[in-house]
């Protein structure tokens, strides 16, 4: 065996034994690249994910809801930062990741390319979008790359509040006036299918799945995770007295799971490829934040340099 193959085998043995891989350990180049891609895209999703909810902070219906939404959006900024620093341990710089986001080379979760049209959307997002994210992220707490797994543990501790505050918003609306209940139903109608798409393509069409499983990046397939989401959500919707917009949704006694209808994969690919309702708007907002913040970054750096110079003169 060539030395490279030996290393690969030893690496795989470590993964199979359930050992974590740390940044300075030897790893196949593909493992490094895959992680840089996945972790940075996860980070971008957290950051872009602030935009649809940020849209409602100033219009929250009460101080309590405003505090909760602000805290949630701030958490998402934190999640982005945990993940960017996990990706940086693999040798990519923060600036390079941000460049990749702005140029469109790096993707982020398509769910954030849908607009938030009413206050009820804050409920639906917390309940469904964070709910779907939690299912994925709980699995990732056991992923093989140490810094990614640790970031996930931290994130999962914070996510539960996100989902519960969203569900509570839905509960209040669903038990309110007929108009309020209608708002909640409308938000569910619009966010159900995009949330289902968050788990990615069907297993047979998911190109990275096999390697992800072998390297224990993922431990469950897209379809398994999606099924779990459906099974969790149906009783939650029933409790609210709302209807999930899927005529094929039905309990399957034999499988012990809910059957559900087909996802519109054309819509999925269209949004992934950049033609969703808000792709342009989201990227513009990120690009503007970056450009308009430049003078702040530069000024802070200039100040720090000046301080350290005057310190070294004083010594």
């Amino acid at each position: 065996m060539s030395p490279e193959i030996n290393l690969e085998k030893a690496f795989q043995d470590r993964i199979d034994k359930g050992e974590k891989i740390e940044p300075k350990d030897w790893m196949p180049e593909k493992y490094r690249k895959t992680h840089i891609r996945q972790i940075s895209q996860h980070a971008h999703s957290e950051v872009v994910g602030m935009l649809p909810e940020g849209n409602w902070i100033t219009r929250a219906p009460s101080l309590k809801r405003k505090c909760a939404l602000l805290a949630k959006v701030q958490d998402e900024a934190g999640h982005g930062l945990y993940l960017y620093s996990a990706a940086e341990t693999l040798g990519i710089s923060r600036d390079e990741m941000i460049e990749q986001l702005h140029s469109g080379k790096a993707k982020y979760s398509s769910i954030f390319n849908y607009p938030t049209l009413s206050w009820a959307d804050m409920g639906a997002i917390g309940w469904l979008v964070d709910g779907a994210a939690i299912i994925n992220q709980v699995m990732l707490t056991r992923t093989s790359f140490g810094p990614y797994a640790r970031a996930m543990v931290r994130i999962c501790k914070e996510e539960s509040f996100h989902q519960r505050q969203g569900y509570e918003i839905m509960m209040v609306l669903a038990s309110g006036t007929p108009e309020q209940k209608e708002m909640a139903q409308d938000a569910l109608n619009r966010f159900w299918w995009p949330s289902m798409m968050m788990f990615g393509p069907r297993d047979e069409e998911s190109t990275n799945s096999e390697l992800s499983m072998k390297w224990k990046i993922k431990r469950k397939s897209n379809d398994e995770l999606r099924q779990q989401f459906v099974d969790n959500s149906v009783p939650q919707a029933e409790y609210l007295g709302l209807t999930i917009p899927d005529p094929d949704l039905k309990w399957n006694e034999e499988r012990g799971h809910y059957d559900f209808g087909d996802i519109d994969w054309n819509e999925f690919w269209q949004v992934v490829k950049g033609d969703g309702p808000c792709n342009k708007e989201r990227m513009e907002a990120r690009q503007n934040a970056w450009d308009n913040g430049k003078w702040v970054r530069d000024a802070a750096m200039a100040y720090a340099e000046k301080q350290s110079k005057s310190k070294s003169i004083a010594v």
Partner: protein
């Protein structure tokens, strides 16, 4: 990889979760200087009372052992079982030991 020199330096963040416990590494972040690193660490890592004290260290100032030297560094301890109390046979009726 990128050669953008104007990027804020990277800092490693350590938190003491409560008095009596040691500071523990929690992650890293970018900041222009130490003061800003502490302020940012407060916002990023202690939004829910996770800490009572913070240490920030510029990442470039940390020297880490190389995983390839793991053997020579740590293996010598493996065969020194006589450093553990269970290595010594003491009858059960001997108390307080």
């Amino acid at each position: 990889m990128s050669d953008n020199n104007n990027q804020w330096p990277l800092w490693e963040i350590f938190i003491r979760s409560k008095n009596g416990l040691e500071h523990r590494h929690v992650g890293s972040l970018h900041a222009a200087d130490a003061e800003m690193a502490i302020e940012n660490a407060r916002d990023v890592y202690t939004r829910r009372m996770e800490g009572v004290s913070l240490w920030v260290v510029e990442s470039k100032d940390i020297t880490a052992s190389n995983p390839e030297n793991m053997g020579e560094l740590f293996e010598p301890a493996i065969d020194k079982v006589y450093r553990h109390p269970t290595f010594y046979d003491v009858p059960d009726e001997i108390k307080h030991m």
